[in-house]
């Protein structure tokens, strides 16, 4: 890890000195790790690829602000978390817009998609996704991110707080709230299934 960090730092220096192609080494070094995170947060491969690409682009643009003592992997990981959050938010807005258009094309207001699944929808959904996937759909973008980082990425509260730019207690409460919501959703899903 130490070597890897030193290698990253050397590569970053090269990029900052004008060797644009050197950034490719960083991309190739960390892209799989970012893809795994992005997939867990977005739930599909295409969105995950977009998130990885966007994260590396933002990373390149902000590379001059990267502190030499920091770990590039951690740094780019946090950037990817924000990119994934943005992706989830834009997807939610798009879904809300589609729901609005499908319901009433002439209505001016924007309707928000109902995240509480009815029994029929749940039965149908059970056929196309695992219980875990469906339970995740009950969460907001922030809750999903916090939960993924905690439960799947095994990040501790401080790391989650740093990645989300929130206080540690807020990060802990967000994870707790996510667990509560998903347990309720699981209870409904099990009864329906």
């Amino acid at each position: 890890m130490g070597n890897m960090g030193q290698n990253d730092r050397a590569t970053i220096q090269a990029v900052l000195a004008g060797d644009r192609d050197a950034y490719g080494l960083l991309v190739m070094q960390h892209s799989r790790m970012l893809f795994r995170l992005a997939f867990r947060m977005t739930g599909n491969e295409a969105d995950a690829d977009d998130v990885v690409q966007e994260a590396f682009l933002r990373g390149f643009q902000k590379l001059a602000t990267f502190e030499e003592r920091a770990n590039f992997g951690t740094w780019i990981y946090r950037i990817a978390v924000h990119c994934a959050l943005d992706k989830l938010e834009s997807r939610r807005r798009e879904l809300a817009r589609q729901v609005c258009e499908e319901n009433d094309p002439e209505q001016d207001g924007v309707q928000v998609a109902d995240s509480a699944a009815g029994p029929e929808r749940l039965v149908l959904s059970t056929e196309i996704g695992s219980l875990g996937d469906l339970a995740l759909q009950a969460l907001t973008a922030m809750e999903r991110t916090a939960f993924v980082l905690r439960h799947m990425e095994q990040r501790n509260t401080d790391e989650i707080a740093a990645a989300l730019d929130v206080a540690p207690n807020t990060a802990k409460q967000t994870v707790y709230r996510a667990v509560q919501k998903m347990r309720k959703r699981l209870a409904v899903l099990r009864v329906t299934a």
């Binding site: 900052l16 192609d21 997939f39 867990r40 001059a64 875990g132 439960h151 509560q180």
Partner: protein
């Protein structure tokens, strides 16, 4: 020993993720071991969280990283150094400068556009005022009649030609009939003037003939809807009855002195 209260769900979540402080974690673990109720609740939580799984991402092949780099490289700016604030202090204010210049340029364009629009508007208003004033002057000023000099001989000559054409006119051929009406209107003013002269001078034959001609020209000019077959036939009949064409010819041949009489006539009105 004081008995520990039941674990809250939040405490259990902390315990599950091993987030609790070491001492608290051991106490909580001991309580769960001893308390059947909390043990059941904890197992339920464990079961749920295991159900949620880890959402394993699909495997990416060896070429994934390289493909991703190609995707990223396409969109990269020329150099990352460009954004390094400590190395490029001037770039800190460059966006502000650009923004400021953009605003200044926008304001200049707006002011210029406003000035131009104002100038054009003022010019148009000026033209409108000029036009209105001209119109007012035209209305206020007496209309100057067009003045023409008419010789009686010419008038009689034109009248004779008109009468001949009327006599032989075919109402079905409107292209030939319509100019006759215009010609009659043109002769009317001069005829009126020469008739008054004849009355004043006591030239009764001339006055009588011009009076008949006056009636005829007025009738042709004011015929509603122009000269139709019926109206033309009626006029031709009147001409024959009164022998107007004959009288005009006699006046031209027997009174050559009259042909030198000249009057200034207002065309389209009385002199």
């Amino acid at each position: 020993m004081k008995q520990m209260n039941h674990l809250s769900l939040e405490g259990m979540v902390e315990m599950y993720y091993k987030e609790a402080a070491p001492g608290s974690y051991q106490s909580a673990q001991m309580h769960v071991d001893e308390c059947a109720e909390c043990a059941t609740a904890y197992r339920s939580l464990e079961n749920d969280l295991k159900t949620l799984g880890t959402l394993e991402a699909p495997e990416r092949d060896e070429g994934y990283a390289e493909r991703m780099w190609r995707r990223v490289a396409i969109s990269l700016p020329a150099s990352a150094e460009l954004q390094r604030p400590d190395l490029q202090p001037a770039r800190k204010w460059r966006p502000w400068l650009l923004t400021g210049l953009s605003y200044a340029l926008g304001c200049a364009v707006l002011v210029t556009a406003a000035f131009y629009v104002g100038t054009v508007w003022e010019h148009q208003q000026h033209l409108k005022r000029e036009a209105a004033r001209d119109a007012q002057q035209k209305l206020a000023a007496p209309q100057k009649p067009r003045v023409v000099v008419v010789v009686l001989g010419d008038h009689l000559d034109r009248s004779e030609r008109l009468l001949v054409e009327l006599k032989h006119a075919d109402a079905d051929n409107q292209e030939l009939v319509k100019p006759l009406r215009d010609e009659a209107r043109g002769l009317l003013a001069a005829n009126h003037v020469f008739r008054e002269d004849a009355d004043k001078s006591g030239d009764e034959p001339l006055a009588l003939a011009l009076n008949k001609l006056d009636n005829l020209l007025t009738e042709i000019t004011n015929e509603p809807g122009g000269l139709t077959a019926a109206s033309l036939e009626r006029i031709q009949q009147e001409m024959a009855n009164e022998g107007l064409l004959f009288e005009v010819r006699v006046l031209r041949s027997k009174n050559p002195h009259r042909e030198t009489a000249v009057r200034v006539v207002a065309n389209g009105g009385t002199a």
